[in-house]
Structure formats: C-alpha cells, structure tokens
C-alpha cells in the first residue's frame, strides 16, 4: 500500500474524543476572545466584593480586584486552555478544561459587571443556597425514583402540591402541621404515580404529565376561587433562619450554610442520608438492583413492585418537603403555579448530577447561583439583559444531557415497566 491512502485513513478515522477535544478547544478560545475584547476592554476601575458585613464577629476585608488586568489575565488563561486542547487535548483534560474555563468566565463576568462598584459576594452565595433548595430536593426526589427505574416527571406537580398544602394547612395548624401535611400529600402523589406506572403499567411520562396538570388545575382553582375570598386560609407562618452557634459566625460559609432556615438544613441532611442509603446499605443495593436489572432482582427474591412503590412514595415525600419551601420557607402564601418549573429543573439537576444525590445538589447549586446572579445583576445595571444570564444554566444542561461531556448513564431499566412472568 502506498503512503497516500494510509494518510487519508488516519484522517477519516476520527475518534469521538479527538472531536470533543477540538470542539472544547474552539469554545474556550471563543470565550477567551469574549473575555479579552468585551470584558477586558470595557472594564475600568476596581471591582469590590464584600465578603462580610462590618457587624460580623470575624469580619473579612473586602476583596478588591483591578477589573481590567484581571480580565486580561482571565482571557489569557482561557486562550491557553483552548490552545492546549488543540495541541494535546483529549481524555479527562477535556471535561476539566471546560469546567475550569467556565468558572473563569463566570469570574470574569462578575468582575466586569462589578467594575467600579461594590457587590456582596456572601449575600449572593447565601441566596444561591436558598434558591438551590427546591431544585436540589426535586432532583433528590428524581434520584430516588429513577434509581428504581421510575421516571418521575410529576416532581413539578408534587412540589406544587407541597407548596399548596403547606400554605393551607400551615395557615390552619401552624408551620409544623403544614410541613407534615405537605410531606404526606407529596408522598400520596408519589404513591398514586407508583400505582399508575407500576401496577397499571401506564406510560410513565403520561402519568407524570397527568399528575402535573391535575395539581396545577386544582391548586389554581382553589387559590383563585377560595383563597381570594378567605384570606386567612392562605396566611401561613414562615420558618425563620436559625443561626447555628459558632459555625454561623464563620465568614462566607457561615451565612451560606449555617445561618439558614429549616429547609436548607433539611435538604443537606436528606442528601447526606440518601447518599448513605443508596450506596452504603443493603436496602440501597437492592433498590439500585431493581433499577438496573429488575428481573435479576426478582429471581433473588427482591420484591420489585414493593421496592418501586416505596421509593416513588419516598421521592414524593421529598418533593412535598421541597414544595413546602415555596410557602413555609419563604413567603408564607400560595400563588398560582408558584413553583414555575423548578421540578423540571430538579430533573435536569438529577441528570446533570448523574443520578447521585450529591451530584444533584451540586447541579442545583449551579442553577441556584445563576438564579441569584440574575437577581443581583438587576441591581448592578449591566448592559446585558439578566434574562440571558438566567438562560445559561439550561444551555449547560442541554449540553450535558446531550452527552457532550461524557455520556451520563441512567439506570439501565429506567422508564421500563417490569412485567413479572
């Protein structure tokens, strides 16, 4: 064989990894151009980030960054990472470079937006945590269901049901009563979903959509017809933030993690508990076996149906708790469709987090960060409409879900009903 065809071969035999590395490189270089020529050129003065309030026991000084130089350095770093991808990209460097690159981009953006002004970083991190809670709990509910191979599109409806019940029962019986009721109602919807898809083998997506529409219709009706008339039914107490002694005084992480309300602590504890449960206990192993290979689990005497009922109901209870955040954890009253798609974002967080509770929490924090950033940007008056920033996490989700950065593997039997022979 001559040399020429061999060369065409090596060209046509393009591997997926090499292609990924090249695309990542191109993206990073495009970002570096953006940072250098838009953020860098446009930045003047210093960006001041406040880390503590002056009243805090251990106050940190403000972080002052010269905006222009910072962004030139950031742009150069991005360019270096991008070029590196072309020269010796591939493998785990691709995902890592992209992650680091995006983090640099966010920092550069913040510095640019804050240039010449001051901005409370700690306040934003605290808000990030708060906004991540319903998403993380929705994602956790999704993890519990999908680990036993039931796709739960109804998380949105379960959140909404939890929010509604929390407001109604909370108004009548007080905060704790409302919370317990929200969890029970969420669990009830989980049980209904399980009955529809496990026992009656209804299509899981359709069953979920049906529950979502039912909850949306019912709660909207009651809130517009009943709550508007009898306002005392929609006036629940709110769980206030509780500062954990000492830890709450730590700078930056204190306000973020230890000066929050019940829902933040609850979400963190639930994530830790379910991680232990799923990956370190006997029941967790069995649950995952049901999600991966239900027939194998069945031959080993594991009751597939009961496992699915249990976990989907548990997932519903977690979602009900997350739903109560909207009312009992923040405003104390219910508004029509007040969850606004957080349940679906929770599902995205579950996929982003690769069906792992900690991953779902991390992804929820990313979404929560974008959410709170969007709020704060309105204050800083940047030329970019904040709506565009609010879109960015979803673009990231699409990229992740489409399998660009390695393929996220769902449980093998996900979405498939199990028919016992």
């Amino acid at each position: 064989m001559t040399a020429a065809p061999t060369q065409t071969q090596s060209e046509t035999m393009d591997t997926g990894k090499a292609r990924q590395a090249r695309i990542t490189g191109a993206v990073l270089i495009a970002l570096s151009i953006l940072v250098l020529f838009v953020f860098g050129m446009d930045s003047s003065g210093d960006a001041t980030f406040r880390l503590s309030r002056p009243t805090d026991p251990w106050a940190l000084p403000n972080l002052v960054v010269p905006a222009g130089p910072f962004n030139y350095v950031a742009g150069a770093l991005l360019a270096f990472l991008g070029v590196r991808q072309f020269l010796q990209g591939g493998g785990r460097w691709t995902a890592l470079s992209l992650g680091v690159g995006l983090a640099i981009l966010v920092m550069a953006f913040l510095v640019w937006a804050t240039a010449g002004k001051a901005f409370s970083l700690t306040g934003m991190l605290q808000a990030t945590m708060v906004r991540a809670v319903p998403i993380a709990l929705g994602g956790l509910a999704g993890v519990l269901c999908e680990r036993v191979a039931v796709v739960n599109i109804a998380i949105e409806g379960m959140l909404l049901a939890g929010a509604f019940t929390g407001a109604l029962i909370g108004s009548l019986l007080g905060g704790w009563g409302g919370l317990v009721a929200a969890v029970i109602v969420g669990g009830a919807f989980g049980f209904i979903l399980a009955a529809l898809v496990v026992t009656y083998r209804m299509d899981q997506i359709i069953a979920g959509v049906v529950i979502n529409l039912f909850v949306l219709g019912l709660t909207s009706y009651v809130s517009s017809q009943v709550f508007s008339e009898y306002r005392f039914l929609n006036n629940a107490p709110v769980f206030r933030a509780y500062k954990i002694p000492l830890l709450g005084d730590l700078p930056v992480i204190g306000p973020m993690l230890f000066k929050q309300n019940l829902f933040v602590y609850g979400a963190l504890i639930l994530v830790a508990l379910s991680t232990y449960y799923l990956f370190f206990t006997r029941s967790g192993l069995r649950a995952r076996a049901v999600g991966e290979h239900p027939h194998a689990a069945d031959t080993l005497g594991i009751n597939v149906y009961r496992t699915r009922y249990l976990h989907v109901t548990l997932g519903g209870m977690v979602a009900g708790f997350g739903g109560a955040w909207f009312t009992l954890g923040s405003v104390g009253r219910f508004d029509e469709n007040m969850t606004g798609g957080r349940g679906f974002i929770g599902l995205a967080a579950m996929i982003f987090g690769r069906w792992h509770p900690v991953g779902a929490l991390a992804a929820a924090l990313v979404f929560g960060f974008a959410d709170s950033l969007q709020q704060k940007l309105a204050l800083l008056r940047t030329p970019i409409p904040s709506d565009f920033l609010a879109m960015s996490p979803y673009i990231a989700t699409i990229i992740v879900v489409a399998g660009f950065i390695g393929k996220a593997q769902p449980p093998a039997a996900n979405g498939k009903p199990y028919v016992k022979e």
């Binding site: 035999m13 591997t15 370190f280 006997r282 192993l285 069995r286 076996a289 194998a296 031959t299 005497g301």
Partner: protein, 503 residues
C-alpha cells in the same frame, strides 16, 4: 439432597407447557435434560426454582412435599438456578452481585462488603472458580460472568444447581473449563441439572439423561448406552440427519469484496479492525466466533445500517460503501437479521404486511399513494406455501406465529426476490430441528442458484455444516480462515481460533 417432581403440569392459557412430568434429581449426579426450544425445559426449571407455581403435581424434597410460592422459596429450599440469560447487574461488582438478596450487614443496614468479599473468596478457593470479587460485571467476559452466576448459587448454599443452556455463549474451550467446574461441583455432592439442546454436550457431561418433547418426558437413559442419533430421535420424534446434503460448490466471480473495513465503538475501540474478506457467487462463507466479537457490526456495515470509518465494500463489482440500505437491497442483497423480533419483522403487523416490508414501494404493489393489498396478500400466500410458513391466514399478526415460522417468513421475504448475495445472521437461533433443516436447505439452494452466501453464526455446528469456507472473527478481526471444500475442517482448530489462540 434428592428432589423429585411428581406429575407436574403447567398450562399457559390453552398451551400445556409441562404435561404430567416425573423427574428425579439425585445428589452427586449430573442429570442431563434434553429438549428443543419450546419443549418445556425452562418452564419446568422455573417451577423447580419457584418462579412459577405448577397447576398440578407436587415437588418432593428428600421425600417431603413442598410448595414454592415465590423465587425466595426455591432458594431457601436449596435449589439454585443459573439462567440462560445471566441475571447479573452489569454496573455492580462481582461481590455485590453475589450477595444481592442475602447481604451481610452491620448496624444501620450497613452493607458489609468486606465480609462479602471474604466469603466470595472462600467459595472461589473451595471450587477453583478464580473470580476477582472486585471486578465490575460489565468488564468480564461471558465465561467468567457465568462463574459469577454459579458463585451466586453456591453462596446461597444450594444443593441442587440448575444450569439452563449454560454453554450457549461459550467457546468450545470455555465449555471444557466449564465442564471441569460442573464435575467438581458434582464430586462435592451437589445435584446438577444440565439443560441443553446440544447432543454431544449432554452425552459428555451427564450421568443420566431425560428427554423432553412437547412438554412430556419422551425418553430416559444412561449416556453410555445412547448415541446422538437415538437422542435426536427422542428429542424430535423422528430420525434427523445432521449433515446438510450439498454438492461441491461451484464458486464463480467475486460477489462481495470487503477490504480494510474499520468501525469504532462508542469508546473509540475497534469494533471492526481492518476486516477484509471475499464472498464469491456460488459459495457459502461462514463466519464463526463467540458473540460480540464484531459479527453484528460487520453485518450492519455490509448491509448499510452503519457506515464504516474506513474501508471499501464492493458488491457485484460496484462500490457500495456509501450506498443506502435500499440501494443495496435493490441491487440484490438479501439480509436475514440476527434478531428477528427486533429487526427482522414487526410483530403486530400481519404476515402479509411483513412479507412486503421490503418491496411495498415497488411498482408491483404501489399505486400512487396506495398499496395494492389484494396483490400483496396473494404474494404473501404464495411465499407462505413456498417456504412452509405454517399460518392459518396471512392476516394473522406475525407475532402469533412460532419462532420457526416467523424465521421462515423472514427468510421467504428476503429470498423470494432476485438475489445475488444472501447475508444471514444467526439464521436458526432458537428454532426447532425441523425449521433448522428447512432453512439450511434453502440457504444451500440459494448458493446452488449462484448467489454468494455469507452466514454468521455462533453455533459452530451450523457453520461447520453449511460453509465452503470458514472465517473466524475474534475481537473485531478475521483471525483464521479454513477451507472446507476438501474434507471437513478440524473443529478444535476453529474453536481455538474463536478463543483468539491462533495468534
């Protein structure tokens, strides 16, 4: 432990899967259970393991009557089953799979994997299984996965071990290793039930043989006194010839020439690694190999279902590397896919609709936007007669036919055209002996009419019986070639090549 089945009957609707079966399983003995697909072997074993409950009859363990209501009961009674399709969770480790359902635990339901690993190692050592407890199942070859299944059964301290078609996925050499394990289990006092439809295997490993046909025990005996011929007659109900009658091939011009074909899988490894081969008109080329060594990918590339990364495919003198499936089809390429239910037919469509799946667009049937159904039905009826597809009507959904008739329907559709090349993948998988004979005859007939025939099969007997030339695939490469025109090929040599030993 002794297990006795007395008058076991199991019905599925009108079908009697097991009809008054009596069977005795003794400790320290290998009982061979022979029968074709659909004879009721698996039903019987599922009853024995507690997955099904019998409609009539009783199960006696050491003389005492027992009833099993769910799979846990069978396990608890000491009966363990190794299923034909492995019941392993691919993303779990060996240890996790072995202990699943009977896990050692600490406080707070803590899964004690350390103890699990230790226990797995102990069983490993006692029976010489040599499996790494920390390996992920999906990273293990099937031969080792099977040992994990046996580990699972032993871990539950089963005394009766049922092996359902255990050799279907193994190379001849792996079968030898596997038989060693079976013998060591028997010598350790376990009762083994070995279910298969392979005659020479059952003669080699069994201490006693029972034959099952149409849900009934039709013969029993001592393997020393039985031959493959007598066993086959018991199994099928009539004398069977195992050699395919065929004349010497009259190989002509090259019909299919494949050079340097490469295909990458999702991990960027070679699914096909520089495959080159040729099929001439008037010859049968058989591709042997253990499942999953690139055969599926090769057939998909040849028929146009996937596009290769490199290489060329010449069909009847034309370069078809980038041609669509339909173009290849129209040029006279016939494809019998490996999984008829997945890609050979549409189960909910009628026989007639399935018969015109590859030609409905042809002007013969197409009238503008309409299809000439009466014509299609007439054609389908004729095909059914020609290819012995036994169906009460061409309007019956194809899913209601037996596996043999479904496959004959697919073969009829593919061969009842002007063909030049027939690519048949696992053409007789899961079929009864009668259907196998019939399909083999038809493939030889296609060869004698001047077609090139490429057969891919994991059944070595099928490859040996049909092929004029045998190619062996291993890890995406053609690793050996054997000429079968001058006398039979050395079975052992082919087996070694299948295991990748020839390099």
């Amino acid at each position: 432990m002794d297990v006795e089945l007395r008058g076991i009957t199991k019905r599925f609707g009108p079908v009697v899967a097991n009809d008054a079966i009596n069977l005795h399983i003794r400790a320290g003995e290998v009982l061979g259970l022979l029968g074709e697909n659909g004879a009721g072997k698996s039903t019987m074993m599922n009853i024995l393991s507690g997955l099904y409950t019998p409609d009539e009859g009783e199960i006696l363990i050491d003389g005492k009557s027992v009833t099993f209501e769910d799979p846990g009961d069978g396990i608890a009674a000491g009966i363990g089953m190794v299923h034909q399709h492995f019941m392993l969770v691919p993303v779990f480790t060996v240890a996790e799979n072995v202990v699943l359902g009977v896990e050692p635990t600490g406080r707070f339901d803590y899964l004690d994997l350390k103890t699990a690993r230790k226990q797995v190692r102990e069983i490993n050592d006692r029976y010489g299984l040599e499996v790494d407890p920390d390996a992920l199942i999906e990273s293990l070859p099937v031969g080792i996965q099977q040992r994990v299944e046996i580990l699972k059964v032993l871990f539950r301290s089963a005394d009766v071990i049922i092996l359902d078609e255990p050799t279907a996925v193994l190379t001849p050499q792996e079968v030898e290793d596997f038989f060693e394990i079976v013998r060591s289990l028997r010598d350790a006092g376990k009762a083994i039930v070995f279910i298969t439809h392979k005659l020479h295997e059952i003669l080699e490993i069994s201490d006693r043989i029972s034959v099952l046909r149409h849900g009934r025990i039709t013969g029993e005996g001592d393997p020393a006194k039985l031959t493959t011929e007598t066993l086959a007659e018991m199994m099928v109900g009539r004398p069977v010839s195992f050699t395919v009658d065929k004349a010497a091939p009259k190989a002509g011009a090259p019909m299919l020439t494949v050079s340097d074909l490469c295909l990458l899988d999702e991990h960027d490894d070679f699914a096909l690694d520089h495959v080159s081969l040729q099929v001439r008109s008037g010859e049968v080329v058989g591709i042997a190999g253990v499942q999953g060594n690139g055969q599926t990918e090769l057939v998909e590339a040849l028929t146009g279902l996937t596009r290769p990364a490199t290489g060329t495919i010449l069909f009847d003198g034309q370069d078809v590397t980038r041609s669509s499936v339909r173009e290849r089809h129209r040029m006279g390429m016939a494809h019998v896919p490996e999984d008829r239910l997945r890609s050979g037919m549409i189960a909910s469509f009628s026989v007639a609709e399935n018969m015109v799946l590859n030609s409905y667009y042809d002007p013969t049937y197409g009238r503008g936007l309409e299809i000439d159904w009466p014509k299609a039905q007439t054609t389908a009826a004729r095909y059914c007669i020609d290819f012995d597809v036994r169906t009460p009507s061409v309007f019956l959904p194809a899913g209601h036919l037996s596996g043999g008739n479904q496959q004959k329907m697919v073969v009829a559709r593919e061969l009842e055209r002007e063909t030049k090349l027939v690519i048949a993948s696992q053409p007789t998988r899961g079929l009864d002996v009668g259907s196998i004979e019939y399909i083999h005859e038809r493939l030889i007939e296609a060869r004698d009419e001047g077609d090139g025939v490429l057969i891919v099969s994991s059944e070595l007997d099928e490859i040996m019986g049909l092929s004029d030339r045998i190619l062996v695939m291993f890890e995406g490469r053609i690793v050996a070639e054997f000429d079968a025109t001058n006398g039979p090929v050395d079975r052992n040599a082919v087996g070694l090549a299948m295991a990748g030993a020839s390099e």
